[in-house]
């Protein structure tokens, strides 16, 4: 697989804490790469290292296989989590200024800025001061500034914070369009539902170390907790007896059409095939589906060691601590 960005064995130490310990990530081309982790895990440090804002203590960095160099800055677009604009500066002028800092020719910048401003209904605000814009509009301007120089790698740190749902959808569709046009994207967020929606690959960082990475669907499979949903009819025996000893029932629902919906967990030593073979003689199959854990569950499980439903009070406290760090 071709990678747009690779970080190998990155270490970064701050005065009082270790921010990154032996972190290696490989960001594939043409996809959306989710960078996940609790607050304070080291995500922002890693993102800043990728943007060459800070340098790692140790480790190697590659952009498209080349050693990372300051010339690559113009190929990367970064929307930081903590972002703002000069309040007193005019919107259009400011966008042009920031584009010039990314080495975009001023004529090209003006032309493509106008296109983007039209698209986002910002044109009437070109000559207004930033402070006159609503927060949502400012965010749109920042988004445009981030992508204006047509970077090959885009890094979004919590891009949806501060947007209303309509604009979140607008932004999502723009991000997906960019991906389809061949831009690689690193996407850092706490919002697990948007991770499931957008990401192809993920890496999870906790307490300065990478603890999980890979393709999203593979990770989900690997975290399968052997829970399946069965839809069956024509029960000959009680459900428990049919399943035993291959699986046990977690929940049972009686549907209106006489079908039974059962959520079951397969016992150790058996697999899905065993279950089907075991119960096939006794039931009439209408549906069979694996219940993969949500990214939210995987996140919490990986970070705290337990699934959310298994968490006790102490664990939750631990999790809260992680979150506020």
């Amino acid at each position: 697989m071709e990678y747009i960005f690779q970080a190998e064995n990155i270490y970064k130490q701050y005065e009082n804490h270790q921010a990154l310990t032996d972190v290696s990530v490989s960001v594939p081309r043409d996809g959306i790469f989710g960078l996940l982790g609790p607050n304070g895990a080291g995500k922002t440090t890693l993102i800043r290292i990728i943007n060459q804002i800070i340098a790692p203590d140790q480790g190697k960095l590659f952009f498209k296989g080349e050693k990372l160099h300051s010339k690559h800055i113009a190929r990367i677009g970064y929307l930081p989590e903590e972002r703002g604009l000069y309040k007193k500066m005019k919107v259009g002028e400011q966008a042009l200024y920031l584009a010039q800092l990314k080495n975009v020719d001023i004529k090209d910048a003006r032309k493509s800025l106008k296109e983007w401003f039209e698209k986002f209904d910002l044109m009437p605000w070109w000559d207004r001061k930033v402070e006159e814009l609503s927060k949502g509009m400012q965010q749109k301007v920042q988004f445009i500034i981030t992508i204006l120089h047509k970077p090959e790698l885009l890094i979004f740190d919590e891009p949806f914070s501060g947007f209303d749902p309509i604009n979140v959808n607008l932004l999502k569709s723009e991000i997906l369009k960019l991906r389809d046009q061949g831009t690689s994207i690193i996407f850092s967020t706490h919002n697990m539902s948007s991770v499931e929606e957008l990401c192809d690959h993920i890496a999870l960082i906790n307490k300065s170390e990478k603890i999980l990475d890979g393709k999203l669907d593979e990770i989900k499979k690997a975290h399968s907790n052997r829970i399946f949903t069965l839809e069956i009819g024509d029960l000959q025996k009680p459900m428990e007896k049919i399943l035993s000893p291959v699986a046990n029932i977690l929940r049972l629902e009686n549907g209106k059409d006489g079908l039974v919906k059962a959520k079951v967990r397969i016992e150790e030593g058996y697999n899905a095939n065993d279950l089907i073979k075991h119960i096939l003689p006794s039931v009439h199959f209408h549906g069979f589906q694996e219940e993969l854990p949500s990214m939210n569950d995987i996140f919490i499980k990986t970070v705290t060691g337990k699934y959310p439903q298994e968490l006790k009070k102490e664990d939750l406290k631990l999790h809260m601590d992680l979150d506020t760090n």
Partner: protein, 446 residues
């Protein structure tokens, strides 16, 4: 380099186009010119004739009061109370009472007035009476006033400095002092005014949270230097316009109303108050004003004698050098704090050498070539102000080059130090920073 230029351009234009800059740039010279012109003008305008009634009980002195400029004397051979009644009836502005005891006890002399006493008139009367009393005392002692006058010697040493190239140069320490302290104070203001603009600019970028967007495109050092250089150019622009406009305004006003700027007899009385004067001598003095051997003439001549090329060049250098040295530190402070209130603790080490320089300026002027002057004018933190104070007195080339070199090294040093604090500080939020912490940032690599 290209990006640094883009940053300089923004920093410069965004400030120069501000309404406050335009207003300050135009109002500044008007204000400065007003400071120079208005007092002179007001002094002239308010000089209405001041009428003094003289009640001389001794009948010895009343003839000596000659009308001068705006003070008019009238001899009244009546008792004081009647004279005061006349004054109350607005016939006079003041009543001078010379009682019979005046000569033995000068403290019994009285000047009555309903309004505030006119200081010019009072000083003029005092100088006349002092002169007359002295003459009478001399007569009592049997000394011929003519002899005394012959012994009177006016001494004014012309200080000549022998220059290395064999030329002689007349020194005028008073003028040098004035120019030196003016230059020093100007640098002091420039550094503080524009240094704190750098600090506020950095804090603005930090609190706006635009800084992370910018440093993902340029190096933090480029952003910092762009800001420092941009603001330096704003400062130079403003001062250049100020100086040009001030000269233009003062020049045109003095050309339009030359009489406003001429010396008046009263001013000469103050200038020569220790000398004995009578009205005819006053006239002579007035004519001498135009010649070089009078104080005013000396000032004119010594202003011409100053080496303006050296003055202006060194002013611009120390202007910029001092600013660059401190602006980097101001930028570091701005980056390390989250709000204006937290800047206080870090401002102190910057303020102290600056204020110290201004305080020491007096000492330096008293002995411009002494060891204190030497050391303070080569240490980069004090040299911009102290060297400006020294330069009008003439500075050995060695001192000057040493000072210049050390100042350049100094601002390279503070810039290097500040850059290290800056790149960490701009990304650090919600943390109250101590000196210890700053030192860790300096030592941090990468």
């Amino acid at each position: 380099m290209n990006k640094t230029f883009t940053i300089i351009k923004r920093e410069y234009l965004s400030r120069v186009r501000k309404r406050t800059f335009i207003v300050m740039t135009i109002l500044g010279p008007l204000f400065m010119a007003a400071l120079l012109i208005v007092p002179v003008f007001i002094a002239r305008m308010s000089d209405s004739v001041y009428e003094v009634a003289v009640v001389d009980n001794t009948r010895l002195f009343y003839t000596e009061f000659a009308d001068a400029n705006n003070v008019v004397f009238t001899d009244l051979n009546i008792d004081v109370d009647s004279a005061i009644e006349l004054m109350k009836a607005d016939k006079f502005d003041a009543v001078l009472h010379i009682p019979t005891t005046a000569f033995q006890a000068p403290s019994t002399l009285r000047l009555f007035s309903e309004k505030a006493i006119n200081m010019n008139a009072k000083l003029y009367i005092e100088s006349i009476l002092r002169n007359e009393f002295e003459l009478m005392k001399l007569a009592h002692a049997g000394i011929d006033p003519e002899i005394l006058k012959a012994t009177e010697t006016k001494i004014s040493i012309t200080a000549i400095r022998l220059l290395r190239d064999g030329h002689e140069q007349t020194d005028y320490p008073e003028v040098s002092m004035g120019l030196g302290i003016f230059g020093g104070i100007l640098i002091y203001f420039f550094v503080f005014l524009f240094g704190s603009q750098v600090m506020r600019g950095v804090m603005e970028e930090k609190s706006n949270r635009i800084v992370e967007i910018i440093v993902s495109s340029v190096k933090p050092f480029q952003l910092m230097m762009g800001k420092i250089v941009g603001i330096a150019m704003v400062g130079l622009t403003q001062f250049l316009i100020w100086i040009l406009l001030t000269f233009a305004i003062v020049g045109s006003v003095s050309a339009a109303m030359p009489e406003v700027f001429r010396f008046t007899p009263q001013e000469n009385i103050y200038l020569n108050s220790s000398q004995s004067l009578n009205p005819t001598e006053l006239q002579k003095q007035m004519q001498q004003v135009q010649q070089h051997n009078t104080p005013a003439g000396q000032i004119m001549e010594s202003l011409r004698a100053i080496n303006y090329k050296v003055m202006i060049l060194s002013f611009i250098f120390y202007f910029l050098g001092g600013y660059l040295l401190y602006a980097a530190l101001f930028a570091a402070i701005g980056s390390a704090v989250d709000n204006e209130a937290d800047t206080q603790q870090f401002m102190l080490p910057i303020t102290i050498p600056m204020i110290f320089s201004i305080i020491m300026a007096q000492l330096v002027m008293n002995n411009p070539s002494g060891p204190v002057s030497f050391w303070l004018s080569i240490i980069p933190f004090t040299s911009p102000i102290i060297m400006m104070v020294r330069i009008p007195f003439g500075v050995p080339l060695f001192d000057l080059w040493l000072s210049v070199t050390l100042l350049i090294l100094g601002f390279l040093g503070t810039t290097w130090l500040a850059a290290k604090i800056y790149r960490t500080g701009i990304l650090m939020y919600g943390k109250k920073v101590s000196y210890k912490e700053l030192w860790k940032w300096v030592r941090r690599t990468g």
